[in-house]
Amino acid sequence: MQDFARAFADSFRQILALDAGFVEIVGLSLRVSLTATLLSCLIGLLLGAWLAVARFSGRQALIILVNAMMGLPPVVVGLFVYLNLSRAGPFGWLGLLYTPTAMILAQTILITPIVAALSRQVLEDLHGEYGEHFASLGLGRMGQVRAILWDGRYSLITVALAAFGRSVAEVGAVIIVGGNIEHLTRVMTTAIALETSKGNLQLAMALGMVLLVIALAVNGLVSSLRLSASRLGYA
């Protein structure tokens, strides 16, 4: 118990000291996850909007598929990306395995279905509500999509935050395609896994605390967004 308390205090000191290795790990984590979130929003919002307003055969099957992909196991995604990027794989010639780019790629694949499925639901509800109004105004398909994206902005930001939360806390995919290489692909989650197994609880706990703070901040942002949204008559 005493050890635990000491480790706790030490890890606080570690955070406050902001030594280069620690900052590097946190920085790479944020860079990888934010980039993956951005990419997944670009693809996922487009896909979600398309599924929300377009009518074609096979649409329902596609929606079910995207919904199911929300639960993709990170290690399976990691394995899939690994097989594609490994030297023998189809994209091996790109030399991307064990780079941050590979990690971004894996996380993007992991969270794009989340953005697509959740935003599809948000946008379809809005489109159902506004549909006859839009038709009465003679608004074209593109104008309709732009309007529901704007009117759904609070919910969509919440979706993006959920996706970011999932990617920053994820370990299975990045450890397979990144390899947890110091100064290159070591992020918070992979560092925690490694340092804990090595018995270096101080760094592991410091990083764990940063992860917790990020999770709390994301949740705080979501609730304050919800508050200002209802004040604006969004609900």
Binding site: Y130, H133, F134, S136, G138, D151, L232, Y234
Partner: protein
């Protein structure tokens, strides 16, 4: 409008000038309009000729199909059979831009009141904030411009929907119980605005349960009963001398015979 004529008379005047049955003089016609859902016809073989100008009131019991008829005529839903003609041409989506509709349930974007009007105008390629502000002013919502549309009161929301419709200066305006939740002063103000629009050439088709309003405004009345046209007549003759039994019952405030009101026995 001639001297000494009230606005209401002007609104009704067109009807008396234009003879019925002349093709090309109808703003909107439908032939054998039928809409089926769930295996039963909700709109059942309605044929109408709405003359240019003036106000047509559509009345009938709850669930008769009045709102459905308006949505069909506006082209929002596709009829199961029958045709709709706009100035003698088959109705196309392009015609919808010349029309406007105020829905029974207001549909408002998650934006402030002014931005809702700006959006409606912009969808017609009109980028004119002043015109939007003017429309709000006309329905008495100038002070509400910056308020969230969905937090307005029921009556204010209806007035906002009217502002959005009128700002576009439509050739044909569908009003589905647009004054149902307004206070008496606002009803009068809105009726004035609608009559102004009619005087400027807009044709109005309005659903209302306010018989006084139908008498005040409409030149002709269409009575809908269980998806069918029970009667269509000039306002005076409809109210003084309704021909269909169901319209007589309606005007006398009786429930139609097919309704059964079950009271629990004490």
């Amino acid at each position: 409008m001639r001297d000494g004529e009230t606005k209401a008379e002007a609104g009704r005047g067109h009807l008396k000038l234009v003879g019925a049955g002349l093709p090309g003089h109808h703003a909107l016609s439908c032939r054998n309009l039928t809409y089926r859902a769930g295996g039963r016809p909700l709109i059942d073989g309605i044929s109408l000729d709405l003359v240019r100008g003036g106000i047509t009131a559509v009345i009938g019991y709850n669930g008769a199909g009045k709102s459905l008829l308006l949505r069909l005529l506006h082209g929002l839903i596709r009829p199961s059979s029958g045709e709709i003609l706009w100035h003698g041409e088959a109705l196309s989506p392009a015609h919808r831009k010349l029309q406007a509709m105020v829905f029974q349930k207001p549909v408002l974007l998650r934006r402030n009141a002014l931005d809702n009007v700006v959006f409606a105008l912009a969808s017609h390629g009109i980028h004119d904030r002043e015109r939007a502000e003017d429309a709000l002013f006309r329905v008495g919502l100038a002070d509400a411009a910056g308020r969230a549309a969905r937090l307005l009161s029921g009556g204010e929301q209806q007035r906002l929907m009217l502002a959005m419709a009128l700002a576009r200066a439509p050739q044909l305006l569908f009003l589905d119980e647009a004054t149902a939740s307004l206070d008496p002063a606002s009803i009068q103000a809105i009726e004035e605005i609608v009559l102004d629009a009619v005087a400027a050439g807009t044709k109005v088709v309005m659903v209302t349960h306010d018989l006084g309003q139908a008498k005040r405004l409409a030149g002709e009345v269409v009575f809908i009963d269980r998806g069918r046209k029970a009667e269509a007549a000039p306002t005076d003759s409809f109210f003084n001398n309704p021909r269909s039994a169901v319209a007589q019952a309606y005007l006398e405030g009786r429930l139609p015979h097919q309704f059964q009101i079950h009271r629990s026995q004490a």
